[in-house]
């Protein structure tokens, strides 16, 4: 299955992935309209210590412990893509407790969680973080 892979060697710490993610999941057509004066809450997050940087988002594990630990069945493995059903989620954060990558984050209001679904749940088509990466540091491919 095609997944998002990150090579920190080429990450420029420009943080565009975060903004493109936030935009792609905003449901808006215009980025300025979507993100102006908004504190973004993207599914992909950059770790950046000033020297090294890299983007982290859901790895879509083949043996996803978050799905197995979810107390409501809101997290499911949909043919390899790990999805969250926000209608079922009660925000217990057990997924945050178990995700070894720290790739699951609470939604802005904290009542449910949110995570990368490889932009299959929005209008971006292919993952927006990959599309917008200026230096090929994030790729979407079969490995």
């Amino acid at each position: 299955m095609k997944r998002v892979y990150v090579n920190e060697k080429w990450c420029l710490a420009c943080h565009l992935c975060e903004y493109n993610c936030a935009f792609a999941n905003s449901g808006q057509k215009d980025m300025a309209k979507a993100l102006k004066n908004v504190k973004i809450n993207p599914m992909v997050r950059l770790e950046d210590n000033g020297k090294i940087s890299f983007a982290v988002s859901c790895r879509h594990c083949t043996d996803p412990i978050c799905v197995k630990s979810c107390i409501t069945g809101a997290l499911t493995n949909d043919g390899g893509i790990i999805r969250v059903n926000k209608d079922k989620c009660v925000g217990c954060l057990t997924c945050i407790l178990v995700c070894p990558y720290g790739a699951v984050v609470p939604a802005p209001d904290g009542s449910v969680i949110q995570k990368c679904e490889l932009c299959t749940n929005n209008a971006s088509g292919e993952p927006a973080c990959v599309k917008g990466c200026p230096n090929g540091a994030i790729v979407f491919e079969e490995r």
């Binding site: 420029l12 710490a13 908004v38 200026p134 230096n135």
Partner: protein, 502 residues
Amino acid sequence: MPINYNVPEYAVVRDPDRCIACRVCERQCANEVHSYDPELNKMRSDETKCVNCHRCVALCPTHALKIVKNPDTFRINGLWDNETISDIYRQADTGGALLSSMGNPKKYPIYWDKILINASQVTNPSIDPLREPMETLTFLGKHPHTIERGENGEIKTDNLPPQLKLNVPIMFSAMSYGAISYNAHESLARAARELGTYYNTGEGGLHEDFYKYGPNTIVQVASGRFGVHKDYLNAGAAIEIKIGQGAKPGIGGHLTGAKIVGDISRTRMIPEGTEAISPAPHHDIYSIEDLRQLVYSLKEATDYKKPVIVKIAAVHNVAAIASGIARSGADIIAIDGFRGGTGAAPKRIRDNVGIPIELALAAVDERLRQEKIRNSVSIVAGGGIRNSADVLKAIALGADAVYIGTAALIALGCHLCRTCQTGRCNWGIATQRPDLVKRLNPDVGCGRLVNLVSAWQHEIMEMMGGMGINSIESLRGNRLMLRGVGLNEKELEILGIKHAGE
């Protein structure tokens, strides 16, 4: 604090409705033009630092940025224009020679744009490159004068001096590791290998990682002799003696000690921090017969297995010089026109020394034919080749192949801001700052170079087909395929072409 007499050259225009203060511009500008004001949650800019490299414009996700010429101007004056005045202020401030980079930006005539290409109509057919073979394979090197035969009469094929084989008559010209980054070099090397052509180390030596690209590498020997040793000479497919370069004929090079760090110092074989100064002349070449000695000592060092290129800047008596070089044992002559780029050059020299490659090339090709030695040496033209039409015109004027440098860098992202000398290249090309160098991912860079040259090759094939020519060698020196527009008799005579309509 003294008065700053100069005004910023450019103005940063930021559309407040579009800017989302994502701070990409701030993070990406090595010149620190942009900054973020947390109180106002607004981006600010210090235009005095802007060199108009467009990095911020290219990366701004909401296209909120524009860099425009600063409308602020000194009193308009036909003779004393803004740049002229600013230069004087700058020199009055510093007392130094003005430094700049890349090629001559002045409004000298561009002969490529005054030459038009022919096409077939009725009397002979044009050829469709999509249906028929269209050959761009080119060999560079000497040719023997006589055909030798074995005892049973078969032609001997082993008396051919070493040659370079190019799938497309376009090579990447010399740019040293140090002047440009490791990743820029890797991009060029990998692209050359993929395209079946060559890149050129320039005078900075060959990084150990890149020996594997040797079969597609031309190693340069310049007046500084940086990084030159036997393995280096034997690592490449050919050796280029750099006498001069179009951007700064008659002077040497200077890579500041600041850039001589780590791998660069090791590759150049000079201590870290030392100024890498290439003398104006080779101090073992004060005359043409000295050149012959260097050519042959290099051939000796490489067992006569590598063609030797001699690269000169296009200067006034280039034709005579070229004929001397052709007789010096060189296999290939590279001529660099006055628009050739550089990582750093005194501005006055860049803008005022040398001659256009079009005229130099035409003069050299014609002169070598008059002296009946054109077939014993190949000609490579460089310095201001901008597109496939320029390539085709150069070959029709008489070049065997061309060197492209600036065009290649532009493909890699260069925006010709002409401040390479500062070492703060925001595109990761003309810099050694690790955080900037990493901005050029060779996977991306190589791909873009391959795309560029492949696209040019395709266009060249289309134009050749239109002329009814299906092999590049039938275009070489085929000046009847060219016509001039708006050129005077003298120019036409030197170019050896007729005027359109004739």
